[in-house]
């Protein structure tokens, strides 16, 4: 009898801690980021939010924790309405979040980072330190002990006194989880707990999150890697353009062709059902001896930001007149790869050659002058300058001659830019800005073009035109192209060869045509 009662009490407690979000909406200056989203998190369950970039996943975290105030909707934890509460009060109510970019207190030791999150410390207030120093000291010791326990839980106790800035990114992610646990909250929102860490650390993180959920806490993760989602999530919520499109098990989501198309590009499942052996040998690629003929030749290149390694031992070749695409989920290191080639970040080891010239020691601007052009995915144009000023600036930066000829060349490729030649770049539509960005990359007559998401923000028709332009550039002008594209299907159509990047490593590579034949190519991510 009594046993029954206690178990019913336990379920009461559990249902009492359920998180319910109803009708959450948020728009930023007319752009709808989240629209009428309703979610439930239950104790002991791991929920994953997935969806393409800009689907509003992180915004939902911001709304739940009131880091950003919602336009409409309510959030409750159990019986408590937390919609209007401050971030601090929400943590006290039991919900805490982590960040994709970790946001640890970098100059502080790991133990201090964790200790900082422990609630109700008298030594944080000056009154007890002054007037009841002994009690404060006792509680201070207790806090340190607790912090050590949390660090031990994530396996970081050896590094307690090390400054967080000196830890690897994987270790930092572990400390961040310990910090989140130390708040004592039972609802954890984890933003990409495995992004930017190497495969082994990712596995460790997966086990860690499982362990946390098994202890009865509710966990919600935002994650781009399907591999991680599959391993962790009890329930998957698929978002697109700020709305919930589907909800269900990982299996039921990934098997739906319309969602796969949204996530991985259009016509994703339109390919013929031809089974291709995993072990198929790749088409022959240039060997080391021919490296001087390659537009780009990478041999076990590793690179990263600060202490954080992002790509590992990447081997890759691009020949003149060839389009090579690199595909992979977000955070796999695609953009990092382009930046490493150009020299925008620390290259750790390996070889990078451009027509035989060593790229490892040269700076980004010498590389641009040698004939490498890079069109970035974010902030591609100078907004206060006109279209023509942007293009002339790009020509000046590359030291190109025949400026007017190049200008005409770009205007011919993108007639729309000619119409808007004196218009300020900031007032162009997103798609026009994208064209301008590619045009700017072409001003210096490059021999190697690094394109990061050239179709980002383009409507389908414009995207197709863009790929057409890229294809012509490559085949008619002989420019080598290294292309990164979210729309994998489109990229495979335009490209000659494809590399699959998974967690910073080349997982697989083959001809684009062969890859496009696979019905399940995105499982290679």
């Amino acid at each position: 009898m009594s046993g029954e009662r206690s178990s019913s009490e336990a379920t009461d407690v559990r249902t009492g801690r359920e998180v319910q979000a109803r009708g959450l909406s948020k728009s930023f200056g007319g752009v709808v980021a989240v629209w009428d989203v309703s979610l439930d998190f239950r104790p002991g369950e791991i929920v994953a939010l997935v969806g393409p970039n800009g689907a509003g996943k992180t915004t939902i975290f911001n709304l739940l924790t009131n880091t950003i105030r919602a336009d409409a909707g309510t959030v409750t934890i159990g019986q408590t309405d937390i919609t209007k509460k401050s971030p601090q009060e929400i943590v006290r109510a039991g919900m805490v979040r982590s960040w994709q970019q970790v946001r640890l207190f970098a100059q502080m030791s790991a133990i201090d980072n964790v200790a900082l999150a422990i609630p109700n410390q008298p030594s944080e207030k000056l009154w007890p330190v002054f007037f009841r120093p002994r009690a404060a000291m006792k509680r201070e010791r207790e806090a340190k002990r607790l912090a050590h326990e949390h660090l031990a839980f994530v396996g970081m106790q050896e590094f307690a006194d090390v400054r967080v800035a000196d830890l690897s990114f994987g270790q930092q992610k572990a400390v961040a989880i310990a910090r989140v646990l130390a708040t004592g909250c039972d609802i954890l929102l984890l933003d990409e707990p495995t992004s930017g860490v190497d495969p082994r650390a990712a596995e460790e993180a997966i086990n860690l999150v499982k362990k946390v959920a098994a202890s009865g806490k509710s966990v919600c993760i935002v994650e781009h890697s399907l591999h991680v989602v599959e391993a962790l999530a009890d329930r998957v919520i698929f978002l697109d353009q700020g709305q919930v499109l589907a909800e269900g098990t990982c299996q039921s989501i990934t098997s739906r062709p319309d969602l796969a198309a949204l996530y991985f590009g259009r016509k994703a499942t339109g390919a013929a059902q031809v089974s291709v052996s995993e072990q198929e040998l790749p088409v022959s690629r240039s060997s080391a001896a021919e490296s001087s003929k390659c537009a780009l030749w990478l041999d076990s290149l590793s690179a990263g930001y600060g202490k954080r390694d992002v790509i590992f031992d990447v081997n890759l070749q691009v020949e003149p007149g060839e389009i090579v695409t690199v595909v992979g989920h977000n955070g796999a290191g695609k953009t990092t790869l382009l930046k490493a080639v150009l020299g925008l970040l620390d290259r750790r080891s390996g070889i990078a050659r451009f027509f035989g010239q060593d790229l490892m020691r040269s700076t980004e601007y010498t590389n641009v002058r040698r004939g490498i052009a890079f069109s970035q995915a974010e902030t591609p144009v100078f907004r206060p300058l006109s279209v023509r000023e942007n293009l002339r600036l790009a020509a000046f930066a590359t030291g190109a001659s025949h400026e007017n000829e190049r200008l005409d060349f770009v205007y011919e490729l993108f007639p729309r830019l000619r119409d808007r030649t004196t218009q300020k770049a900031g007032t162009l539509s997103g798609g026009e800005q994208r064209m301008l960005a590619v045009g700017m990359a072409l001003m210096g007559q490059p021999r190697l073009l690094l394109l990061d998401e050239p179709s980002l923000g383009l409507a389908p028709v414009l995207a197709e035109q863009m790929f057409e332009v890229i294809r012509n550039l490559c085949k008619l002008e002989g420019i080598a192209v290294l292309l990164i594209e979210q729309q994998v299907r489109a990229a495979l159509e335009v490209a000659d060869y494809v590399y699959f990047l998974r967690l910073g490593q080349i997982a697989h590579h083959e001809s684009a045509a062969a890859a496009a034949m696979r019905p399940d190519y995105w499982q290679l991510f």
């Binding site: 207190f105 000056l126 690897s168």
Partner: protein, 314 residues
């Protein structure tokens, strides 16, 4: 000077709030003490407002309280609205307001001519004599340093450092940041005010020219050189910066000739410090005598970071 640097360290080193108003808080403490202890001596101009001539103990407490109040008022805009570089401007403005008022309100402050101040005395021992004054200064400074050190090491210091690193992240961990921040200003001002009261009581004289921006900048330099967030480093740096003048006179320069050279040497020290020890003499979180051990731990972390990213996770 050491006490001033320590008070600033609490604010600047731990919580990352740059303050240019240390000298202002110092001045507030000093003038409060001189006003409330004023016996109405013969050297005052006619029309001066005379203080109540309270005993020195009370005056010191009043000085602390008034400085704390000014610090708290200063913190109000700094906590909510003003961020980053603008805090420097805000505190600089306060510095000038207080400095200029000390010239203008001659009836209270004595202006440039200055006024004499009642010394601290217990029985027959006057702490205005160098011998005893030194002891008093040492005790008070020791108290300020110890307080700053304990507060910095425990939870409160952790919160302040958290504010410095990432205030929004700290709030998302369930910690309020407004109160600790304004307390940091208040406590820092309290310490500076106490130092000011003790200093004028020792010198037995106060004049408006003493509390210039130079003093505030020197205190900031001591913090930056010593290592923000590290009490020991800051104390050493403050002593060293202050000793430059006397050392120059010792090596043979006349005291008038040493003044310009003093600034040359200070400038040189700051440039060298920034070039070779940009983290400060003793970086935060490291102790002078345990350097080897902690750098070994750091090396260990780095090794495992490059070698074996996942090693620490399990």
């Amino acid at each position: 000077m050491v006490a001033l640097a320590c008070s600033l360290n609490l604010l600047m080193g731990y919580s990352g709030q740059f303050s240019m108003a240390t000298a202002a808080f110092y001045a507030v403490g000093a003038f409060t003490y001189s006003f409330f202890s004023d016996p109405g001596g013969s050297n005052r101009e006619p029309g001066s407002i005379l203080g109540p001539h309270w005993p020195w103990v009370a005056c010191i407490f009043v000085a602390i309280a008034v400085a704390a109040f000014v610090g708290f008022i200063t913190s109000l805009p700094a906590v909510r609205r003003v961020r980053g570089d603008y805090v420097i401007l805000l505190t600089l403005a306060l510095q000038y307001v207080i400095q200029q008022s000390s010239f203008t309100f001659q009836s209270v402050t004595g202006g440039m001519q200055g006024i004499t101040v009642v010394p601290i005395a217990i029985g027959k021992v006057s702490f205005s004599e160098p011998r005893y004054g030194f002891i008093l200064a040492l005790v008070v400074t020791g108290f300020i340093v110890a307080f700053g050190w304990i507060v910095g090491k425990w939870g409160y210091g952790r919160i302040l450092r958290g504010i410095r690193e990432d205030e929004e992240a700290l709030r998302a961990l369930g910690k309020g940041t407004a109160l600790p921040k304004s307390l940091a200003f208040t406590v820092s001002a309290e310490m500076a005010g106490l130092a000011g009261a003790i200093a004028v009581a020792y010198l037995r004289f106060i004049s408006a020219g003493t509390f210039s921006v130079d003093l505030a900048i020197l205190a900031a330099a001591a913090v930056a050189l010593g290592g923000p967030g590290n009490m020991l480093g800051v104390v050493i740096a403050a002593v060293a910066l202050n000793a430059i003048g006397p050392i120059l006179t010792q090596v043979g320069l006349s005291s008038t000739a040493s003044i310009p050279w003093q600034y040359v040497v200070i400038g040189l020290v700051i440039v060298l410090g920034v070039r070779f020890r940009s983290q400060g003499l003793i970086p935060e979180g490291r102790r002078l005598f345990r350097r080897t051990k902690s750098s070994a731990a750091t090396a260990l972390a780095e090794e495992s970071a490059t070698d074996n990213l996942g090693e620490g996770l399990h």
